[in-house]
């Protein structure tokens, strides 16, 4: 497992955090669906709690199909999953 604190992971975390949570919100139609959950979650999990407990929880969520919703909540994204 790569170090959560390394430059590459934190850069991806900052990218996700900024693009999905910040920037000008204007009165258009904001539609975001989220894919590549595993890859994004590798970075996003750093925002919630310790690596081990989240990894275990994430495996449970994947089995029950709740992973996308959970990740969106972590990123504080208003998610309308159109898939």
């Amino acid at each position: 497992m790569s170090d959560l604190y390394d430059q590459e992971n934190v850069t991806l975390l900052d990218l996700v955090d900024r693009l999905l949570n910040k920037g000008v919100v204007i009165a258009g139609d904001l539609v975001i669906s989220v894919a590549d959950v595993d890859l994004l979650f590798v970075s996003l999990r750093a925002m919630v709690t310790s690596i081990e407990s989240v990894s275990e929880k994430f495996e449970e969520l994947r089995e029950t199909g709740q992973a996308v919703a959970t990740m969106a909540r972590v990123a504080d994204v208003s998610l309308r999953d159109n898939r």
Binding site: D14, L19, V24, V48
Partner: protein
Amino acid sequence: MYLYAITDRPETTLPGVTGIGGAELASLAVGDLDVVVSNSASIPPTATPETLWQHERVLEALMKDRTVLPVRFGTRFSGEQAIRAELMSRHEYYVEALERVKGCVEISLRVFSREVKITQPTVEKPATGRDYMASLMAKAASEREERRRAEALAESLINPLVAFATDYEIKVLPSPIQLLNAALLVPAERVNEVHQVARDLAEQYPDLPMVCTGPWPPYSFSSIHSEMNEHTGS
């Protein structure tokens, strides 16, 4: 239409990068403002590392010769008329927001810690109601003390960087393993100095993993009436 940014200088030629899904960029000038869009067939965009980076690359290319207000990823409009109406109705707001970030970029600093966190003191099972209340008060006092120490440490960490910033947003203990999450709006010409100060801090505090990223487009400072501003000690 998919939106990337609101910018100044609509007379400027668009950069030679493509948008999400390889879509060509287009410019919608509204007076002294410009909206950079693409007619992407692949909307709504799916947030993957690739699409997020492509959105970012468009903004970075635009920033070379314009002031940029990044638009939230995933924003689209039904057509040109709706975009023009939005810009005309809030023209002054966007001009003011652009002025605020002109010549500046955003730098991020995250400081991680396994040691500094809110912990719950171990208490015996209370025998009486009074003991129960005493345990609650002890817990609250302990949490206040932990937070006070974390805030003092965060302040000493961030002060040398805040000195460069025209604005900043700081969150102390945003999650159990993060001591500090800071976004700094700094003049573009001072980025190298900021990076050097961040490197010095990392050497000064070897037990605190910290990562500085950027320069980014001014995502955290693109709204005038930001709900996110949480300045430490102010």
